[in-house]
Amino acid sequence: MKGHKALGDRIAGGVGIVCGAVSLWQGADLYPYRQSPLMGDHVMLFFLGAMLIVLGILVGFVFHYPPVKVSQADRKTKFTVNLTFLILFAFLIVTWLLGYVIGNLLLLFVLFRVYGSYSWIKCGLFSVLVTALIYFLFIYLVKTPFSSGLVFELLGM
């Protein structure tokens, strides 16, 4: 079936080729430490590298697939998805600085607000409730050693 290649297939094919090349390169690095040509940590990397490059070329540039229905989100949803990633990565930084409990509380608060558009009070209430439950289960009962945060560690708390 002829036609334009879907952008998604080209990207995936490209990812396959790049990963294959990286695998070959890493395999070549390990080749000197081999026991023999077919015994060593390079073998799997050479095999996967070659296969990924061949499949990447086929999938990205040779084969034509029937068109797939890619769900098109509206602008608001696209914004929410992208915002979610920002929130998640911000959570990692906040947790590193202020510890898990405050990080999780803020994460939940912002997500309740973004996903549910609840009032500030409701968001606060929900996030405190869920964080308290998680704290009780995982920190108080199970004693999971979460980070208390760089700031509190520096302050000796």
């Binding site: 995936a12 929410t80 979610t84 959570f91 929900f126 869920v130 289960l137």
Partner: protein
Amino acid sequence: METLSYLIDGFASAVSPMNLLMCAVGVLLGTAVGVLPGLGPSSAIAILLPVTATLEPMQSIIMLAGIYYGAQYGGSTTSILLNIPGEAASIVTCLDGYPMAKQGRGGPALGIAAIGSFIAGTIGVLGLTFFAPIFARSALAFGPPEYTMLMVMSFSIVMSFAGNSLSKGILIGFLGMLLACVGPGWVSGYLRFCWNVDQLTGGLNLVPIVIGLMAISEVLKGLEEQSVAISTEQVGSVFPSKADLKRSAGPIIRGTFIGFILGLLPGCAPTVSTFLSYDLEKKVSKHPEKFGTGMIEGVASPESANNANGVAGFIPLFSFGIPTSAAMAILLVGLTMFGIQPGPTLFTSGGEFVWTVIASMFIGNLLLIILNLPLVGIWAKITKVPYGILAPVIVSLCVIGSYTIRNSMFDVLITFLFGYIGYVMRKHQWPIVPLIIGFILGPIFERNFITSMSMSNESFLIFIQRPISAGILVLTVVLLILSHFLKKRTASRVKASVDSSMDLPDDVS
């Protein structure tokens, strides 16, 4: 007799109050998450995996078995009440289940789904009890060449999860294998793909990857879909009438048989067994024209087939360590998380443990029917919990789950990254499961291949000179042809049977 005595010991251990409680909690949690629209059993298990991480290994595995059953049943509930199949295997349940719900007979449909699942599950677990140790004993004769070929055969599973293209599925499967290479090499111990990043020197853990790919991506996809709850207000009594039970008896048995046999074959997805069983019921029915309008046989048979298929999947999982479905792959992750390595030695090294788990599967199946039938009204209500409340809680659970594996925020970062990758893959209908399967099989393949090469002075003939290894190779070819045929046939049936208004999951091929 020996098996029976082990099983009785397993029951003695499984019925301890704490284990029973864990099993019940697992069933309830699994159902509660499984009924959420759009979340299939595999996603439900991935989300709940972290909850089990906090318990003792035995209790965790028992809870995991309960979650598995609960999530399977929860998936049926959304198919029947909302016409939203959580995964491809449940599409066929919608065909007659949803029309029954619209006629005010959602209760009997849910009831027969539970009864069918219970019977199929019980027969399936009986099969597991007697066949798995036999397979495992025969697998003890396997050496590295046989295991290499077994991994090649297992990789054919990718075919059933490849979605609309086998080449894409294989590409993703190889990417999964490549991810598993991160960390110290098996032969020399030199680091691969670590690039001076300390956190990578121990390798990547599969749990954060699975949680990201299955759960976080599901949350993001849910943002786009915002499923509208159209659940029927009146589900009616969940107890089927005598006439319903009489009509369902044959379909349940036939569905169980088809599901169990196909569940043993790597590469035959549960979708194939549910559609084959539905097809068979249509053929043996005196009123095939009424299928699709609310025939209880159309619910009983595929639900039984789906459950029997799932339980049969435990046989290759326990005997060879091969996952035959997405849910099995995640369960395997759970088992390895608690230090259990499924495979031929499981029955000898983890004797008491494995028999307790098998016994708890019997109990989980029973608890499912005891707990879920009276609570069906609550499950119907859960489908209406606003997404704005569910999604943040799921994200928070995912964070906990990926962190607790190694107490590392780096794993949380991995979860987020794979969450985004999973979201993009879902959006473009790229199959996710091959990546997980590749990650699981890759290291086993590498280790056995290199040992085989060492045994044979680097001759590939070793794979065809040894009878078992050659036999597995031939079986692989046969299975590939068979599953290709069955898959093609099923795909055309799906297209022919599925109503355009139905909300289909991504893995429909």
